[in-house]
Symmetry: C2
Subunit: 684 residues, 2 copies
């Protein structure tokens, strides 16, 4: 059918159903839905047109969505990107710019961005979840962290981009050294006293720009905010922003309680209003979820909250289901507005000289500049939702435990399957990843992965954030270690678990090093610490056994985890990096030490743990201490343990943990599964 | 003899000796010397008048110094201080101020200040080494840290001063709550829209004032820098600033090398000149020592250093011996000027728009304001001497090892004496402190204590920074723990050591808790860690065993230690507090976990340790690791160890350490001492 006929058919079907929206609006809506991840409830988005559509219309819309998906340009698809870089440089030259900075982040700084914001992947081909490119007229560099260096070198054209380590040569250092040199080398308009490095003020936070401006100054240049993103200007067939239904999600504390808590923080810090730009904060605060981006169930939006708890939500109104509208109406103190209203409302806050709080680490500097220019008294402070969101209530923790039992059943079934099938040598990384996802999906509560499954055998396991593809897929074979890191979203909780499994007989070296990692894992799990302790203080416990053997791992030990939200959330973490954020009861964090031998194998043991309230650990104690409750329930491969390296306390910890796994998961398995689990959790 | 006659006699003696300085100048000089600590070389200061004075004149000067010392008002002496507080408030009222802040620090922020800067002690009676008072018109508060709360409550008039914890209720919080309320309660001139809290800009660093200003704003007031210190205005008989000879001290790296190193830091950070206000930095940089304050062998001064390595030293020129003048002349690039020249020279830097580096944590804000006002481009960064000073050269480390062997001999003799005498029940804390000081002083290289000896028996040992006095002195008796923390200054190194000794039979609880502390001490001493590790990361190793038993200690685990300089030096430390300063080879730091049972006993085990270069710890290692070399050589009381709580690695560490103590110290002792040391260091 021709496009025109097809569109006319939609008009006819809408008319027949007596439905309001014009065909053009519906066509736009479908494009937005196509630019979002596929939903667990495939037809749910149709409610955004009207409830109870006739079947003929639903069928048409389904077909239309499939078509839209098929023609959507995937900015992450591999291919020759040299003309993209050339077109961007041409655009920069036209504007008299010496360069432009292209971050992975979008306006909302989530780990996952919609296709419309995949600028870094579109330009460079790099598909990792963190990185930044700096494009100058005669040279360009891509900066990624330790977990992505191998992947980046494989994905980008290294003759066009120097691939550098974010920590060893941060962009600031490279810019300080390269900006002036490049401008001189290139000559022309930008060969001036102050070569300008452009940036998109929607895509950078004030903290970043402060560093960027400093490095530009060092190079005798300057950092220049641009009204229009020059990359967007040359990006043909850029996907539209995603559209998915906003759904109410009331669980644990009510939105009213949460708004009061945040309002109290603002009042005590002497602020009138906070601007929120992080969708997880908004989802948590307003008891809503969406599916605009993969893996994190949020709707992209902005919001403000006053010290009285009044909220304005700035969002694409087409995303609102009737249910969501009713939810906000009920909440009373929430006003829903189109995103374009944010501009004028920020101006109003400025003209009223309001004391406005923004998070300098995450708010787009565009917002800060707008407030500043209009006369607001801007003060910086962490997003006021961060800390209360991180401290899960007892009801939320109950949900998280239930989600982990459910997840544990899928994991046990997967591990039993793996134990049976992998030795035959026919299981591939991709097949294993699909298997674990399918087993999770058998549970009706499953709402999707919480991140892309990492399924790496042998040397692929040594790539910390390995993502298996047809190109890299390999069979699990004897003598290999297999590392699988995966997680699910459930309405009552988010999971994230890593297990390392020996396929066939492991070497002594593998067992020794697995045991060092296990000792670190146990040291964190059984840690006992006073109030006011930070995750930075505890980090060394996870590394000590490795360090003594001259080994280490180049990633953090633990990240915060949301409750049916982002699998990586702040403000707490367990890491080498200094932090002033204290661990508080109810915080959920991962415990995931590892070891990676490049080109050989990877080891990681990851459970989620929750901070438990302070109590005296022994009768003799003088102070109450906090600790951790392990949430994840899955056996740890006993074949990989070198018993001689465990002390009696460590053995006891593992035996107790395994007994608990058997007790909680065993009854949910079939007979064969139970038999396998019993042997997998037998005392050491 | 009448004063006039006495002064005329001095004139006659000077004339007779044909010596230039007028009697009036010499009288002033003597007052300055009297206001400095007594020197290990009593007559050395007379060289400041002229070399080789006739005996009659020397005798006169000695007598004159004794007299001056006797009449010098001791600002730390106990007594009723209510009229001092009243006079200060009267002065504040006259100036229309709502309050004034009185810190312990002076312009140079050393741990020790001369009598002329003992403002906090003079006003409040509090003699601890850290604290700050805020005096409002109707209320006042003294803020001290955990180690000083008991002492502060005993020393100050608690009806006049609320004694608060620096960490629980920092002055900023108290001011935010009290300033406006106090101004309202008092009424009068300061009952205005913005009550002013005055501060002396010489006594506060920019970082402090930023916090102070914020809290004043919160209270609707402001922080106001004062040209003249109102406390000084009402301080009758304030001692003059100290005068002691400046002596060249060339050891380890030369001043030229050090100046080149600092100049390189300035050049790479894009700065023209740094202002130095810390006497330890200046002493290190210029290879000089003095004795203006107790325990830290420095001369109070300011300096600037340019990116070319040129230094200007601002100092009371009366302190310069002919030897020191020759030393600076030889150095070439060092210009010596009167302190009053600093003002004009800072103005000059401003007018030339120089890029000037100051340390925002230690430079008086007066200096920053002066530079700012005159147009300098001030950039903040740590004192550029801090890091190179902390990284001891191999020659400095050799000196430090020699100083520790020397110190270890005195310690072994002391501990042997204690083992013999204390059980008789007649040794007092004061007598023990005098004994260890006397034993150190027997070595001709001894240059004085590196801090005031802490000598606490029983419950006095639980006061972390206990300073024994006639009033608190008690006998060491059976069943007590005795804690002694002391250190010496030697030309090749500075020592600091704590031992806890059981007098008679300790209880099981004491042994258990001593062993937890020992486990922490060993965990630090034997730590193995990669490059780029901070002391904050390692801190938990010292606490883990205590935490597991529900115990902790409220002080840091380790502080940096100078080389014949301050016993507490930065920038590194081992502490719960976040830090970005990496441990680097050559850094010396203390390892001093403890446990304190209030009202009962105190335990601390302290050795100094040096960071060792990275090497692979085992054959199998993939990375080079750093560690520590223990410098202190003294037995750890075996009677206090609960062997069941030590694992085999910990026992081996202690046996190896004790064998080394016996081997290095034993040969320096007499027969009886050797016999005692052999049993004190016998394998467990």
């Amino acid at each position: 059918m021709e496009y025109d006929d097809y569109d006319r058919e939609l008009g006819r079907l809408l008319d027949a159903a007596g439905i309001g929206p014009a065909a053009d609006d519906v066509i736009e809506l479908v494009l937005g839905v196509a630019a979002a991840p596929a939903s667990s409830f495939p037809g749910a988005w149709m409610d955004l047109i009207a409830l109870d559509l006739p079947d003929a219309l639903r069928d048409h819309l389904s077909g239309r969505l499939d078509r839209a998906r098929a023609i959507l340009d995937d900015p992450r698809a591999p291919g020759d990107r040299s003309n993209r870089l050339a077109r961007l440089r041409e655009e920069l030259r036209k504007r008299g710019l010496a360069g432009f900075i292209v971050p992975r982040t979008d306006e909302h700084r989530g780990e996952y961005v919609p296709p419309s914001a995949e600028r870094l992947a579109w330009l460079t081909g790099f598909t990792g979840s963190a990185g930044v490119a700096v494009v100058l007229l005669d040279r360009a560099a891509l900066f990624v962290d330790g977990r992505y260096t191998l992947q980046a070198r494989a994905e980008v054209a290294t003759e066009a981009y120097e691939v550098l380590s974010l920590t060893d040569t941060p962009p600031e250092t490279w810019i300080a050294g390269s900006l002036a040199e490049s401008a001189r080398a290139v000559g022309g308009r930008s060969d001036q006293a102050d070569p300008s490095l452009g940036y998109d003020p929607w895509l950078h936070a004030p903290d970043e720009i402060a560093r960027l401006a400093k490095s530009c100054e060092k190079a005798g240049g300057r950092a220049l905010p641009l009204q229009n993103n020059p990359l967007d200007a040359v990006w043909l067939h850029r996907p539209p922003p995603p559209i998915t239904p906003v759904l109410p999600h009331v669980f644990g504390r009510t939105s009213e309680e949460k708004r009061a808590e945040v309002a109290k923080i603002l009042a005590s810090d002497g602020q009138d209003v906070a601007v929120l730009s992080t969708p997880e904060s908004i989802a948590w605060l307003l008891d809503i979820r969406g599916s605009d981006v993969p893996n994190t169930p949020v709707s992209l939006a902005f919001a403000t909250i006053t010290r009285d708890g009044d909220v304005k939500l700035y969002i694409d109104l087409r995303k609102l289901t009737p249910e969501a509208r009713a939810h906000f109406q009920e909440a009373g103190a929430v006003t829903v507005l189109e995103v374009c209203r944010l501009d004028t409302d920020l101006g109003g806050l400025g003209q009223d000289h309001k004391r406005v709080r923004i998070d300098p680490a995450s708010t787009p500097i565009w917002i800060l500049d707008r407030l500043d220019k209009e006369g607001a008294l801007v003060s910086t402070g962490p997003d006021p939702c961060l800390l209360p969101k991180a401290k899960k209530s007892s009801e939320e923790l109950e949900g998280i435990r239930a989600a982990h039992r459910r997840d544990g059943v899928a994991l046990a079934r997967f591990l039993a399957w793996l134990a049976r099938e992998a030795p035959k040598g026919e299981v591939s990384e991709l097949a294993a990843a699909r298997r674990i996802e399918a087993l999770r999906a058998e549970n009706p509560e499953f709402r999707g992965n919480s991140f892309e499954t990492i399924s790496g055998a042998g040397s692929n396991g040594a790539i910390v954030h390995y993502r298996v593809s047809e190109a890299t897929d390999r069979k699990l074979g004897p003598g290999m270690l297999y590392l699988v890191d995966s997680g699910g979203q459930y309405p009552d909780g988010t999971t994230d678990v890593t297990r390392t499994i020996a396929i066939g007989a492991p070497t002594d070296e593998m067992r020794r090093r697995f045991t060092y990692v296990l000792k670190g894992h146990i040291a964190i799990a059984s840690a006992c610490f006073p109030q006011d302790t930070t995750g930075s203080q505890l980090d060394v416990l996870a590394r000590r056994a490795l360090w003594q053997a001259g080994l280490d791992y180049d990633h953090g030990t633990g990240h915060g985890v949301g409750s049916y939200l982002a699998v990586h959330e702040g403000p707490h973490r367990i890491s080498k990096l200094p932090s002033t954020v204290k661990l508080e009861p109810g915080m959920v964090v991962s415990n995931e030490p590892g070891f990676y031998k490049e080109g050989a194998y990877g080891i990681r043991i990851e459970n989620l743990i929750a901070v438990t309230p302070a109590e005296k650990p022994v009768a003799d104690a003088e102070r109450a201490m906090m600790g951790f409750e392990t949430l994840t329930l899955a056996p740890i491969d006993r074949a990989l343990i070198d018993l001689d390296l465990l002390d009696p306390g460590e053995r006891a910890w593992l035996d107790t943990y395994h007994a608990r796994v058997l007790e909680e998961i065993g009854p949910e398995l079939d007979e064969a599964g139970r038999v396998w689990l019993k042997s997998a959790t037998a005392p050491l």
